[in-house]
């Protein structure tokens, strides 16, 4: 084995990654070649410096805040999707005929502030979701989301108070503003405990990019912490999906 060949494999040799035969051949060469032995020592030091340096550099790494938000959102979405899928399966066994009558999509977005958005996948089927599950660093503790002939009701508890208004965003397919069915202010009702929370504003918007999707944004007053709230949307009664319902608390 000549020096050139040995030095080509020297990094792999000192890293301990060569098969026994090649390792023995290089060891034999090093035994009788001082320059290559010196080169091997340099390479060993370099390997050690790289391993220590890269590991120390990675050890003090900080996850970018926006990525951290993305990771949490992804886990919640995964968890919600799994829970919903489980429940849909169970419901399918219990009441297959009834469940097939309505296909709805519900997305519950649980975020502490408007500037931190979470997108959950659209979930097919009637969802009674997230009972008993905390949702990490979120302000909402959803108890139940149900759809029936009387409309859709979302029950939740605010576990933290962001200080601002409560916003409800509803995206529905098949409604166009200014034509056909219009949305009544009374079709969205938010009750905290026994008190009806006043609605400040109701806006409808549609974007061309969304096709037939129409977004409805209702702004309610703040809701207290640890008091069960119910958001009822009458006009979704009997409506086939998909639709998305989002609950947000504006940070003050």
């Amino acid at each position: 084995m000549n020096c050139e060949r040995v030095r080509t494999d020297l990094a792999a040799y000192v890293a301990g990654d060569l098969p026994r035969e090649a390792r023995d051949a290089i060891a034999a060469h090093l035994h009788q070649c001082p320059p290559c032995t010196a080169e091997a020592e340099v390479m060993r030091g370099l390997c050690h410096r790289l391993a220590c340096g890269l590991k120390a550099w990675a050890e003090v790494g900080v996850c970018p805040p926006d990525l951290e938000d993305r990771l949490r959102s992804a886990v919640w979405a995964e968890s919600a999707a799994a829970s919903a899928a489980r429940r849909v399966r169970i419901r399918g066994w219990v009441a297959a005929a009834g469940a097939a009558a309505m296909v709805a999509c519900l997305t519950l977005i649980v975020v502490p502030a408007l500037n931190r958005s979470v997108t959950l996948p659209l979930l097919q089927g009637v969802i009674r979701g997230w009972r008993g599950q905390r949702t990490g660093p979120a302000v909402w503790y959803p108890l139940e989301a149900s759809a029936s002939r009387d409309g859709v009701t979302l029950q939740a508890v605010a576990t933290a108070f962001a200080g601002g208004e409560t916003l409800c965003r509803l995206r529905v397919r098949g409604l166009r503003p200014g034509g056909g069915e219009s949305w009544r202010q009374s079709s969205l009702v938010l009750v905290a405990g026994e008190q009806t929370v006043p609605m400040y504003a109701l806006e409808t918007e549609a974007s061309a990019a969304d096709g037939e999707w129409v977004a409805l944004k209702a702004t309610f007053g703040p809701v207290p912490v640890d008091v069960p709230i119910r958001l009822r949307v009458d006009q979704l009664a009997g409506r086939a999906g998909p639709w998305e319902l989002t609950l947000l608390q504006r940070k003050q």
Partner: protein
């Protein structure tokens, strides 16, 4: 701002009434910075690193129930998932993207402001040709054997070996240039990206 629950190590896997998400978040919180940098070292750009970490977290959470050994095994376990994910991205990139110039894949400046020691090593590594940098990251940051690297990248072992050799030659030169002459004061701060 609402923080995640802080659980003691002993709470993991011992029947605490915390949800899987909370347990996962507590363990992830300690590792996510390392995961991000590991992905950055392997992939060489922030966008791919972010995607790799996100996909890793999703896969990790799906398989979290199968994790044996509790909190102690989580770091190595989630890192394995990350390396698999990152090398999958590299294999895909190799299929669809011609070899790019090193400049095109240079990572953006790390903005976390926490690069105290050993940044000279990373500075030298990050300026390598992407093919060399990947091998160096997998070998020295993730302790993968050359055969495993070859398998993960779907390239021959000989190619891995020659890339490692070329990388070491370049690194030796770069680190020698970065080192202060004997007796000189150690320079502070980082090089501009």
């Amino acid at each position: 701002m609402v923080g995640i629950l802080s659980l003691p190590d002993s709470s993991i896997g011992r029947g605490w009434s915390t949800s899987a998400e909370e347990q996962f978040f507590v363990l992830l919180k300690r590792e996510q910075g390392k995961l991000y940098r590991t992905a950055l070292a392997i992939l060489g750009n922030e966008a791919d690193a972010r995607d790799a970490v996100q996909e890793t977290v999703i896969r990790g959470f799906r398989a979290f129930g199968q994790l044996r050994g509790g909190a102690a095994t989580f770091p190595a376990w989630i890192r394995r998932i990350l390396v698999n994910q990152a090398t999958q991205i590299l294999r895909h990139r190799a299929r669809v993207v011609p070899v790019e110039s090193p400049e095109a894949l240079l990572p953006e400046a790390i903005e976390d402001g926490q690069t105290p020691d050993h940044s000279d090593v990373w500075e030298a590594v990050r300026h390598l040709d992407p093919r060399y940098r990947t091998v160096v990251a997998l070998r020295f940051l993730n302790d993968m054997q050359l055969e495993d690297i070859a398998q993960a990248l779907a390239i021959p072992v000989g190619t891995v070996k020659s890339r490692l050799h070329a990388a070491m030659k370049q690194l030796r030169r770069r680190l020698a240039q970065a080192d202060p002459p004997a007796g000189a004061e150690q320079p502070r701060g980082r090089r501009a990206p």
